[in-house]
Symmetry: D2
Subunit: 139 residues, 4 copies
């Protein structure tokens, strides 16, 4: 296995804009979405913007859903619904959202994720419904 196997960078416009990385290569099949928070990612209180937190949680969930199908983490899933609870303030520095499969079947998968500061502080949690995009129907 080569170094960096399973790390997705700069894949989409949003990923390049915000600057997160997506790790779909861990043996627990839980995708990680990581960002080093700086002043581009903060709100008027100087803390991580809730919407940026949602971007990270959504990506970690969607890629974890994808890992239920194969090892690439790139099979497309659409977010149907996402509920996010904002537990604490995210500070500048490294933060990581890690997904976990809660349940589901062939086309719909329930996935949760926690967003955690590098010091272990829980920033936000999310859970949502993700739908497999059929190969012929992918937009």
């Amino acid at each position: 296995m080569t170094p960096g196997h399973g790390i997705i960078r700069d894949e989409t416009g949003t990923q390049r804009l915000i600057g997160y990385t997506l790790d779909v290569g861990q043996p627990d099949r839980r995708a990680r979405c990581r960002l080093v928070v700086d002043e581009r990612h903060t709100n008027r209180h100087g803390v991580l913007h809730g919407g940026i937190a949602a971007v990270l949680l959504d990506n970690a969930c969607g890629a974890t859903a994808s890992l239920t199908l194969d090892d690439s983490g790139r099979q497309p899933f659409l977010t149907i619904s996402l509920n996010t609870d904002f537990i604490g303030a995210g500070r500048p520095g490294g933060v990581t959202a890690t997904g976990r499969v809660i349940g589901g079947g062939r086309s719909l998968v329930f996935v949760g994720a926690d967003l955690v500061q590098d010091d272990g502080t829980l920033i936000a949690t999310a859970s949502g419904v993700f739908k497999r995009v059929p190969a012929e129907a992918a937009p």
Copy 2:
């Protein structure tokens, strides 16, 4: 009233990064968060990233909560919980999230928002719980 009254631009790092504007000057006291979607805001399917949609919806809701206090739209409210339903694909071009107060009281306000393409197509809806930041406690 001067031109641009009530339009907030480039206020925070996240706002500058993503490039949306926030209109808190409408007589219906419903804040609008507007973005012209381009390739920086799309996901691997070429459509508006769900997380960016969440940023717009969250901002429209939070500023609408703020407008329950005064006309500035700048009194800080924290997002406690936000649930987002993704109804349809957002396409490149103009999209606007518009908030509406659902209920609440002194410190907690329930707010919903719809995110709509300029052609009227509904992209996503959200509802959430927002908490007033006491003046002495604002981070």
Copy 3:
């Protein structure tokens, strides 16, 4: 049209237990779920139990989803996810949850509902994802 057309009573064990009625015969195709709240439906604060509110909202949403298919309101839909915001205290007396379709397609439908006291006070709102049960797959 006969009196009581479109009113479903005592159809399921839960409906008989709690005592609500379901109206799927209105021309706006929005299902109503109605309950006369008494001491069997209240929590330790003497107000409508949040779970009972969720029962009413869930039923109104599911039946409204069903009305997207035909006039019977009985085509089965499963609740995939439901988010409920509790706006105010429900008091003993009549309350009605009314559904509305937000969006969706062939198999998944997004539906919202408001639960309102007879005097017009908003008690709770909900939105959720509902899935059509294929005829051959209904449990």
Copy 4:
């Protein structure tokens, strides 16, 4: 400690109507809400009604929030928002919802819960925001 310490039965009208028990006496300070599902609790598919599932999850969460204050499990908390994901069909027989504190502070607590069949099958999960009722303000 007497047998049955920490078991709350028949406390409210809703509890008597539906017939669940609430266990607030476990050393992990996670409240359990238990129901033996029978035909009074099922929907038109013969499976546990989603609203009844929400009742159990809501009670387990609220009582777990209460256990953050003292051992009684009876300090009142109001449900502000509750999101429920329906993972699988609940069958007649014993089911238990178990709460867990996710985060929070003085007045708002984030709590999650899982509803599990006695054979270990996950039926539904929930997470929500719960607010402490001040002693002077309890309705």
